[in-house]
Symmetry: C2
Subunit: 514 residues, 2 copies
């Protein structure tokens, strides 16, 4: 039997690297997604929902080395299909199909698929949510770009992460320009760029080693790069670069620096400047970026001060320290954000649509929010006792019961009639699917469901057109401990009023409570 | 070049049998799904979101003949996976994995995948939405079942389909019992049952032919079956069956009829009885049903009368007639519901979870809404001029512009500051991503976006701390045609007030309008 049972047990699991979203987790996820969608909608975002799979050719050649992580469908005849790897390429495919579209603000909230080695503690799953907004179409320098960054700020403010995140900002043109100025050969620029991108995970010495030993860069060149990519700041850094004659002699870098100044002006108008850290080490992996790039980092424990820029630096320092702790495999459970990478990232990519439709001329700028990570951090913060005002309760408002003595028929029909009456008033209602349920069973079910109120039917009360309304969990001696009699004609209004009152007085994070 | 270009064009399409949801379509879909979710939540439904794929073994052997329609993933090493075919089997798998759950009201809204021949006009797609609620756990006869049917009624009422749908109702036990009574051999019961299920698509004579010629049933038996399965009604039909001694001598049928009486009592308490048609021809395809079964049909043009039961009969007659029209390929565009099958269906299935966990003892009852079909019908009704109060507008509330004379710098920063001010007040805001946009360009963009109001900045007004608020599209001669001056300090309140007022006065189906 042993072996047979094992086999049965093996059948009932979800695929590796995936999860079932249920209970309070899925409710919290929905609340987070609703907040993000609301911000997107306010900024004119329009939803796009593409199929879970694309024709194989659509994805081919878009992800470089990571293409090996794409899930393919079996050839069962007909088209060859693959599961989407991100939401950006399907958006570009859709734009290419709709040649009449000259500008579009699209957002998308969907799962994407990567056949990677799962690392659940680090939030790396094979199926996970992405939540993107991208603006396609012409924009004068940094106007649309600044609005996307403003959206990032609004999203995290609406999630009540005030002061606990930093937007790292850079520009591909500055980065490529400084590599040229330092003497990186043309054909090594992307490789050196991806080495620089590791500076948030490893110290300079290791990055330099990779550049020189693995990627064959001259050590002198590497040392020059160090003088740039270890710098971060705000307008101060920008001013330093503007004074750097060597850098400013490079046309790409000059353009990037000029537009970075425009961007900072606009970000100041958006009230977003104190959330950013201009960081020359930020490179981002994807090939297709052509201008500004950004990445949002967070910590669970960064101090909140008035000086956002200082917080930014502090957050980054802490981030590195704590990531080191993680690598040594210590105490990863206490801090929700330890080991969790960026929670949002994006940038400008002006030529992706042209890969599908030559001369499409649809420059794009966008951001993708790592919703699973945002969820994990928020959940961990709730577990620590924090509350978030946007989290809604999905517990029933009322549990309907019936009590009676000998010969009592359980009043099933009457319970249904009262349920219908309260449902029609918009209340969340449950009752026990027993014809003659015992009082203690009904109370237990009501408690398990988390209903704050009970409506109790009895034959005597019914004869008088009344029912009893009882708040659950009142202490002994409370004047309404046994409930109050209410006319059935007044019941919907009375219960609605009590439910609303109760909500006002107990507005807290429900996850922590229930 | 010709061939090369063709190849490029071929690349940019979505996979066969799928669609991209965009623009007003996806907004309408979201509004419909929000209405349905609200009903589910009111009844204590909890969301479950499972992975898009399952381990191959989970789906194997669950769908009979239709298993050939399952999409498999390519074997790229590791588990063998298939895309989900419905939401019911993943729910059963999840219940089996969570042995502590004794009862659960779960709902799910997700896409499912069937490698079928697509027929877009009939609403048959390879990727389509399902929207299910299922109650797992013990229930005294018909208590949970009646609530599921009440949910169906509430969903269609909340979608404002009042009087335009009928819930066909039957019970597998009555059906199986009557087949036994008529003399159908045990091993032919499922085959005869699926022949009977075709009575909504073909006349009795053809169904009989299938039974006798294809399935080898004795003609006398077929004629006996006819006396039952061509009958529909309400309590009247139930009373007829109760008087039918032959039928009542069969234990299964007797049990089914007894519980149908209980169900009708409860449905009467739910206020749902006038929406149902007890229909002995309803059989439903899936093997796993064990008790009550139901299916919702609709018409675009059925008359609304006080007598729901009469409407039900009428609707069904019309349905058959119009489906015939469809087969002849005539005029399918005029009536949105022509050729569209049921818009919701479900029933009781008491033993599915046991397929994954022996002795699980988790009887279930549920319903699945065909959201794509509900969407198509609603959209067609809107095109005919109907309005639905739950449809929300996603157009921007305000478009921000700046006008000025020679030497005007475009006020980009100031536009951003005003945008931020209005966004913070919760308004939907857009502006043109041009540093110095022409007035006519800004007006065109505002009109295309559908913004009802413009906020217009000018240097003179700005100096006085004022901007101009203008309602779009006012007729010449209207006193506010040129807009009104508003202090920036009062702007958020003033625009919010005007936007709210406008919404109240123009509450209509936005899809038809924009």
């Amino acid at each position: 039997m042993g072996k047979d049972k094992e086999k049965k047990q093996e059948l009932i699991k979800n695929p590796k690297g995936t999860r079932d979203w249920s209970g309070e987790d899925v409710d919290l996820l929905e609340d987070i997604l609703a907040q993000i969608s609301r911000v997107f909608r306010r900024h004119g975002g329009k939803k796009l929902d593409t199929p879970v799979f694309e024709r194989e050719e659509v994805l081919k050649g878009k992800y470089g080395e990571d293409s090996k992580l794409i899930y393919d469908l079996k050839d069962q005849g007909g088209e060859l299909l693959s599961l989407r790897y991100d939401l950006t390429v399907p958006f570009a495919r859709w734009l290419a199909m709709n040649a009449n579209i000259k500008s579009y603000k699209r957002f998308a909230i969907s799962k994407v698929y990567r056949r990677d080695q799962p690392a659940i503690a680090k939030g790396r799953m094979r199926e996970f949510y992405q939540c993107d907004i991208d603006f396609a179409g012409a924009s004068d320098p940094m106007m649309a770009d600044s609005e996307v960054i403003a959206i990032i700020v609004e999203v995290f403010e609406s999630l009540e992460w005030n002061g606990r995140y930093t937007i790292k900002l850079n520009d591909r043109r500055i980065l490529d320009g400084l590599f040229e100025v330092c003497g990186v050969p043309e054909d090594k620029i992307r490789a050196i760029s991806s080495a620089v991108d590791k500076l948030d995970k490893m110290p300079w010495e290791e990055v330099k080693k990779e550049m020189v030993e693995t990627k064959g860069l001259d050590e002198v060149v590497a040392d020059k790069i160090q003088t740039y990519v270890t710098r971060k700041g705000g307008r101060d850094l920008l001013e330093d670069l503007q004074k750097d004659e060597a850098l400013m002699s490079n046309a790409k870098a000059k353009k990037g620096v000029e537009e970075m100044e425009i961007l900072m002006d606009y970000l100041s108008a958006w009230g977003a400047l104190d959330k950013i850290s201009f960081d020359l080490s930020l490179a981002r992996g994807l090939d297709y970026y052509t201008g500004v790039i950004y990445e949002v980092i967070t910590e669970g424990s960064a101090p909140v001060t008035a000086n956002g820029s200082e917080v930014a630096k502090e957050v980054q320092k802490q981030g590195k320290k704590e990531k080191k702790v993680l690598d040594e495999d210590e105490d990863r459970s206490n801090d929700p954000s330890v080991g969790i990478g960026s929670v949002a990232a994006g940038g400008r990519y002006d030529h992706l649509v042209e890969r599908f439709r030559p001369n499409a001329d649809l420059p794009c700028v966008g951001v993708s929010f790592g919703v699973d990570r945002i969820f994990s951090i928020t959940k961990a913060r709730i577990a620590k006792g924090e509350t978030f005002s946007y989290i809604s309760s999905n517990a029933p408002d009322v549990y309907i019961m019936a009590f009676g003595g000998g010969g009592f028929d359980g009043m099933a029909k009457q319970r249904i009639e009262i349920a219908k009456l309260l449902l029609d008033a918009g209340l969340k209602v449950e009752f026990t699917y027993k014809k003659k349920p015992k009082p203690q069973v009904q109370f237990k079910n009501a408690e398990q469901a988390g209903a704050p109120f009970a409506v109790i039917l009895g034959e005597d009360e019914q004869a008088k057109g009344e029912v009893r309304v009882k708040e659950m969990g009142l202490p002994d001696g409370h004047p309404e401990k046994e409930g109050v009699l209410v006319k059935i004609a007044d019941l919907a209004a009375e219960v609605t009023k009590r439910v609303e009152m109760k909500k006002v007085t107990t507005r807290t994070g429900t996850i922590a409570v229930s």
